[in-house]
Amino acid sequence: MYQYDQYDQQLVDQRVAQYRDQTRRYLAGELSEDEFRPLRLQNGLYIQRHAPMLRVSIPYGLLSSAQLRVLAHIARTYDKGYGHFTTRQNIQYNWPPLETVPDILADLATVEMHAIQTSGNCIRNVTSDQFAGIAEDEVEDPRPYCELIRQWATLHPEFAYLPRKFKIAVTGSERDRAATQVHDIGLQLQRTADGELGFRVLVGGGLGRTPIIGEVVREFLPERELLGYLEAILRVYNLLGRRDNMYKARIKILVKAMGIDAFASAVEKEWQHTRQDPALQLEDADIAGFKKHFPAPAYRTDVDTAGADRLLAGNADFQRWYRRNTVSHQQPGYRAVVVSLKAKDRAPGDATDAQMEAVAELAERYSFGEARVTHQQNLVLADVAIDTLEALWHELDQHGLATPNVGTLSDMICCPGLDFCSLANAGSIDIAADINQRFDDLDYIYDLGELRVNLSGCMNGCGHHTVGHIGILGVDKKGEEFYQITLGGSSSNDATLGDRLGPAVSKDRVVDTMESIIHAYTDLREGEESFLETYRRVGMKPFKERAYA
């Protein structure tokens, strides 16, 4: 993975010192609440329901074992012993006292980490595919481009006070695992017929109050033009995006207001200038230099590729886990392992300090000392030799990290909701727990096939409910927690926004309603049809009839 040089290190060290002084000035009354707010936000610190919340940046989801250990140390020392991994591949701590944040940032800096631009109206952490560099359907490894974008965006002087937050995602595979169609900018690596590498560029996607699927602003952007083009989009947005109403300030609203064609031509016009800027031009050597940071690990060549087959004949528990939680790999004899953070008794995406320590150690022993965070709020050990899978499975299981449920109903995306978030209308973690309790038969869950259930505690949509196959959104009805259910959403290649089932249901009805929907599906499905396919074929009506019967 990318290693800091002295300049990168200097920058994060100086950032810590700067923020330490800003915190001191705030506590001394020299900075007003209003003046301090964007400063702390751009260092990841929110003020939440019970305490501040600190969001730490995990650039495109990559972590070394040393970094994981520091994340565990922070959970233990400054928090209540756990952290929450987010859909944007970051980690959040829910209880760090404001005065300790400079110390936390200093600890992070010792392992080349920071919380820069993890919130606030600026360019956020760039996200990507958790299987980057190993996916069988990969066109090109997106990580070097992600790092280029990270550097370009970090403390960019012109774009620190944008109209609103700005999120970029990059995918290098056929199958979009980075939800690029619901980002402010989505970049999809492509190769032309004559082998030239570049990006399809989407703009104006996003969830939240006004969910919108992004539109293509440029069908093909040669790779060396990446930064000039991004700069052009950001400049157009910085100048023209609305600032009078925070709910209309995202780039998606600007794109809708101008129309994609007018927006695209404004960007093209600006790009004719930015592409001449030597500071933004990428030479082949630059790109090659970034690629050098992401070499293939030293794979063993003596792996017994039949090893897993033998195991599959035996232990049924291992089989389940192998089928659900491991993924095929470019390298013969290797698989990627998804470490499920969706155990029944834990909030989705949460990991304790001990679990983080365990993953750090297992990564060292089984996967070249690296781990990844997924959009789906799990972790990944990307390079595991198949003849070591069984041993790894045993060890993960001891730490409660081998729940064989990846991609199933119980692999829910879930925001912190009412338990932690001051914006929430309703709880989400408790609904996830109720769902887990009701659907606790693994074989039944497997029979349901791929099913994405996403939960958000309010319309800001951090739990991506609008793109869940089943989406559950907390709403407030006269002070009571109610839930709006949507069906048929997707954030994959066929990105779609879910349709409303009907009137919101009360908290004690959510799981029953879910069950009716699931029953409707199992009755209606034909052959191997997935939930989403069935829904698309039959439409809302039969689901609705069952749900409100």
Binding site: D5, Y7, Q10, L11, Q14, R15, A17, Q18, Q22, L31, E35, P38, L39, N121, L148, Q151, W152, T154, L155, H156, P157, E158, F159, A160, Y161, L162, R235, N238, L239, R243, H273, D277, P278, A279, A285, D286, G289
Partner: protein, 162 residues
């Protein structure tokens, strides 16, 4: 105490006066006028004894910047420090239009934004009256590296070190 910083130094002999649109234009002395006034009265404003600058805010389209490069001073107004539009105006004035005069930030100008402003090409800062310009000077030394380059160091790190 002066509240103006120019080229990283406190300035206590600033000659510029910002004229409201209603204020009569004095026959001499250095004045700035609003963009609207400058457009309406450009000819008369030129025929006087003293220098002329113009004040812009984020509403002024960046296409208009090309016509301003002869002016000795362009003031960029930040109505609230969170309104980041004029960072783009500053950057374009310096990089695209080769503007060499003074670019001065006015309005809600605070220490914690100065470094970004300077890296975009703003070289003078009227620090908000209730804050110390002297203390704000420290803002310029907080970072010795950046990824995007700035006027005196035009190439970003990524190229310098490869």
């Amino acid at each position: 105490m002066p509240n103006l910083i120019r080229d990283r130094k406190l300035v206590d002999d600033d000659t510029w006066t910002h004229l409201d649109d209603e204020q009569p234009v004095p026959a001499s002395g250095d004045v700035t006028v609003s963009w609207q006034r400058w457009q309406a009265e450009a000819d008369t404003l030129r025929n006087r004894d003293g220098r002329l600058g113009v004040r812009l805010d984020g509403d002024v389209p960046v296409e208009e910047l090309a016509g301003l490069t002869e002016l000795p001073l362009i003031a960029l107004h930040f109505p609230a420090f969170k309104d980041g539009r004029c960072y783009s105006h500053a950057r374009l004035l310096r990089s695209r239009h080769g503007y060499a005069g003074e670019i001065r930030a006015i309005g809600d100008v605070l220490r914690d934004q100065l470094a970004y402003m300077e890296r975009c090409g703003i070289n003078a800062f009227e620090i908000r009256e209730d804050r110390s310009a002297d203390e704000a000077l420290q803002a310029f030394d907080e970072f010795s590296v950046d990824y995007q380059g700035r006027s005196e160091r035009p190439f970003p790190l990524r190229l310098r070190r490869s």
